[in-house]
C-alpha cells in the first residue's frame, strides 16, 4: 500500500470538497432517512387506526392544542438565518486561512498536464468519456441528465409525500434519484481517487506510475460474435441496443410494480409520463453502469458500430 499516494490525492486542496462530500452525503442521507422512518411508522399507525387519523396532528414532532401553529419570522427565523450565516462565514474563513487555492505554472500549451483533470464536479463527465464517445459523454449525456432532472416532477404521478420525509410512499422516485445521485458521486470519486496519469485505473493505495504501459485490447461487441463487416455490424448493434432497451424497460417495470401501492400509482400515470420515465431511467440510470461493466469486465468498447457514430 502506498499510503503517501492516497494522502497526496485526498489532501490536494482542490479535492477537499469531494472528500467532504464523502462525509456530507451519507450524513444528510442518514438525517433524511431517519425522519422518513419515523414518518413511515406514524403513517402505518394512522393507516391502521382511522379514528386516530382523524384527530392526530400527523407529524412526528410534539404538538399541543394551545400552541401557535405559526411563528413570527422576526425573530424566530431570522435569528437562525443569522446564525447560519455566521457559521458558514467562520467555516469559510478557517478553510481559507488553512488551505491555499492551487496555482500551477503559467499556462503552457506545449506542456500537457498528466493527468489533466477537470474540476472535481465535472470529473463524472470526464470519467464517462472512458465509456462513451465524446459526443455522448460530453454533450448528449449531460443534456439528458439535465432534461431528465427537469421532467422529474412531471413524470412523478405519486400525489403522496409532499412536504415530509417518507420512504414507503415514494420508493420509486427517491430510489431513482438516489441511484443517479450516488452514480454521479461514484464517478467523481473514481475520477478523483482512482484515475492516474494517462487516465489509467490505479486502485487506492497503488502508486501512480507515469510510465505504466497497459496491454488492454478493447473489442467491439459484434467482433466477439464474428461479425466484422458493415452493414452487418451496424444492424447487429442496433438490434442489441433495441433489445437492451426492451429488456431494461421490462426489468424496471417488473421491479417498480412489485406492490399493490405502486400498481395504484401506475394507474394514475399517463402513458406519456410512463414512457418518458422509462426512457430516462434506461438511458441515464441503466446504460451508464451497463457500459461501465461491459468495459471493465469484458473489455467491450462499442456495442453499436456504424459508419457515422459508435455507441
Amino acid at each position: 500500500m502506498d499510503w503517501h499516494q492516497l494522502w497526496e490525492i485526498a489532501s490536494a486542496p482542490d479535492n477537499v470538497p469531494i472528500v467532504a462530500m464523502l462525509f456530507l452525503v451519507p450524513f444528510f442521507a442518514w438525517m433524511g432517512f431517519r425522519q422518513a422512518r419515523a414518518n413511515d411508522k406514524l403513517i402505518d399507525q394512522l393507516e391502521a387506526d382511522p379514528q386516530l387519523a382523524k384527530t392526530h396532528h400527523r407529524k412526528t414532532w410534539p404538538w399541543k392544542p394551545h400552541w401557535a401553529r405559526e411563528l413570527h419570522v422576526w425573530p424566530y427565523l431570522l435569528r437562525i438565518e443569522f446564525l447560519a450565516v455566521l457559521i458558514v462565514t467562520i467555516i469559510l474563513y478557517v478553510w481559507s486561512i488553512t488551505l491555499n487555492a492551487p496555482l500551477e505554472e503559467p499556462a503552457n500549451p506545449n506542456l500537457t498536464m498528466n493527468p489533466s483533470k477537470a474540476p472535481w464536479y465535472f470529473l463524472g463527465l470526464q470519467e464517462m468519456l472512458v465509456y462513451f464517445d465524446p459526443w455522448i459523454a460530453g454533450v448528449v449525456m449531460p443534456t439528458l441528465i439535465l432534461v431528465g432532472l427537469m421532467v422529474f416532477p412531471y413524470v412523478d404521478s405519486n400525489p403522496l409525500g409532499v412536504g415530509y420525509y417518507t420512504w414507503k410512499q415514494r420508493k420509486v422516485a427517491i430510489g431513482a434519484f438516489l441511484i443517479g445521485f450516488i452514480m454521479w458521486i461514484s464517478l467523481i470519486i473514481i475520477g478523483t481517487f482512482i484515475r492516474g496519469p494517462g487516465w489509467v485505473w490505479f486502485w487506492p493505495g497503488q502508486t501512480w506510475d507515469h510510465n505504466v504501459v497497459l496491454y488492454e485490447i478493447n473489442r467491439d461487441l459484434p467482433d466477439i460474435f464474428g461479425i466484422t463487416t458493415q452493414p452487418w455490424k451496424g444492424i447487429f448493434g442496433g438490434v442489441v441496443v433495441l433489445l437492451f432497451y426492451v429488456l431494461s424497460g421490462l426489468l424496471i417495470h417488473w421491479i417498480i410494480l412489485r406492490s399493490e401501492f405502486e400498481k395504484k400509482i401506475f394507474q394514475r400515470t399517463s402513458l406519456l409520463q410512463y414512457m418518458v420515465f422509462q426512457f430516462f431511467a434506461i438511458t441515464v440510470l441503466i446504460s451508464m453502469p451497463a457500459k461501465l461493466l461491459a468495459r471493465q469486465l469484458f473489455r467491450i468498447k462499442y456495442v453499436w458500430v456504424t459508419t457515422w457514430f459508435n455507441i
Binding site: 401553529r69 458558514v88 499556462a107 483533470k117 454533450v139 432532472l149 409532499v162
Partner: protein, 324 residues
C-alpha cells in the same frame, strides 16, 4: 425634533409699523434685534437640553423614521411589519409554520447557497480590482494578489473555496428537495428553474477556472471545450458535424473560445461570462426562484403526512384540474 410640541413661548410676530415716519436705520435696527432674539431663543439652555433629550431615543428621530418606516416593538403587528416593510427581509413571509424553522427539515441549504452567492459576488468584485483579463498580465495579477495585496491570498482563497462550497450546498439542497417531495405540484416549475440554476452554478465555477491562466485552468478548459468539438451537428468532430458544414473555425467550440485554441480571446470570454453574463442571468433566475417559493405557498413543509387511503382516484387528470 418634535415640531408640533407647543412647549416654549411662541415668538411674537413683529407688529406692522407704519412705514412713514420711521427712519431706515431704525427699521434695520428693529430687524436685527428680532433676528438676535430668535437666535438667542434657539441657543437657550432649555432648548438645547430638550433637543439632546430627544436625541437620546434615536427611534424617535426623523432620520430613523425615514429609514425604517415602522417602530420596532415586540408586538405581532410590529414584528410582521418589520419583515414586510424591509426590502431585504420581505423575501420572507411574516409568519411561518412552526416546524419549518427546524434544521432537520430544510438543512438550511438553499439559504446557505444564496448566502454563498452573495459572498462570492462580494469577494469577486474585490478580486476584479486587481485583475486584467489579458494573456501574460493575468497570471502576474494572481502572483501580485497572492504576495503583495493585503489579505489578497485570503481573498482569493475565500472566492475559491466559497465556490466549491456553493456547488456542494446546491447539490445538498436538491437532495433535500427530492427527499421531501418538494418538487411536486405546484412546485414543478420552480424545480426546473432550480435545475437551470444548478447548471449555471457549475458553469460559473468552471468559467472561473481559466482566469488565473495557469496550467490547471488551461488544461481543464482545454479538456472541457474539446468535448464541444464533438457536439452532434454543431461540432467539427461530432456526428453529422462535417456534413452540416462545421469546421474548427466555425463550430460551437470556436464560439465558446472565440478562436480555435485556448488563448487571449478565450480568457476574455471566460472573464465576461464569469463576471457579468452568468451572474446577471443567475440573479434574474434567483429572483424568479424565490418569488415562486413564496407564490407556491412558501417552503413545502413540514406538512402533515398524507395517507394512502386518502389518495383520490384518477391522478394525472385530477392534478391537471387542481392547477388553476
Amino acid at each position: 425634533m418634535e415640531p408640533d410640541k407647543p412647549d416654549k413661548p411662541a415668538i411674537q410676530p413683529p407688529e406692522e409699523k407704519p412705514v412713514a415716519g420711521v427712519s431706515l436705520i431704525e427699521r434695520v435696527r428693529g430687524d436685527v434685534k428680532e433676528d438676535i432674539d430668535l437666535l438667542k431663543d434657539k441657543v437657550s439652555k432649555e432648548n438645547i437640553k430638550e433637543e439632546i433629550e430627544n436625541l437620546k431615543d434615536p427611534t424617535r428621530t426623523q432620520l430613523y423614521k425615514s429609514m425604517f418606516r415602522v417602530k420596532h416593538e415586540p408586538t405581532p403587528r410590529s414584528r410582521s411589519l418589520g419583515v414586510l416593510t424591509n426590502v431585504f427581509l420581505h423575501l420572507h413571509p411574516a409568519k411561518i409554520n412552526r416546524d419549518a424553522v427546524r434544521f432537520s427539515y430544510t438543512w438550511g441549504m438553499g439559504g446557505i447557497t444564496f448566502y454563498l452567492f452573495i459572498v462570492l459576488t462580494f469577494t469577486g468584485i474585490l478580486l476584479m480590482f486587481y485583475y486584467h483579463p489579458s494573456k501574460g498580465q493575468a497570471y502576474q495579477d494572481i502572483l501580485y494578489l497572492e504576495n503583495d495585496v493585503p489579505f489578497g491570498k485570503l481573498l482569493r482563497n475565500m472566492h475559491r473555496w466559497g465556490a466549491h462550497l456553493m456547488v456542494i450546498t446546491t447539490w445538498l439542497h436538491m437532495f433535500r428537495v427530492v427527499m421531501t417531495g418538494s418538487y411536486k405540484t405546484p412546485r414543478e416549475f420552480n424545480w426546473a428553474v432550480g435545475v437551470v440554476l444548478l447548471v449555471l452554478t457549475l458553469l460559473l465555477s468552471f468559467t472561473g477556472y481559466l482566469l488565473p491562466d495557469d496550467q490547471l485552468g488551461f488544461w481543464a478548459v482545454t479538456v472541457g471545450t474539446n468535448m464541444a468539438r464533438a457536439t452532434p451537428m454543431l461540432g467539427a468532430e461530432g456526428p453529422f458535424g462535417p456534413q452540416a458544414g462545421m469546421t474548427q473555425y466555425n463550430d460551437v467550440r470556436f464560439g465558446l473560445l472565440g478562436g480555435s485554441i485556448v488563448d487571449a480571446n478565450a480568457l476574455l470570454r471566460s472573464y465576461i461570462w464569469h463576471c457579468i453574463a452568468i451572474p446577471v442571468i443567475v440573479s434574474v433566475l434567483l429572483a424568479v426562484h424565490f418569488w415562486r417559493v413564496r407564490k407556491d405557498g412558501g417552503i413545502s413543509g413540514p406538512a402533515p403526512v398524507m395517507l394512502e387511503s386518502e389518495m383520490r382516484s384518477p391522478g394525472a387528470r385530477a392534478v391537471k384540474q387542481s392547477v388553476k
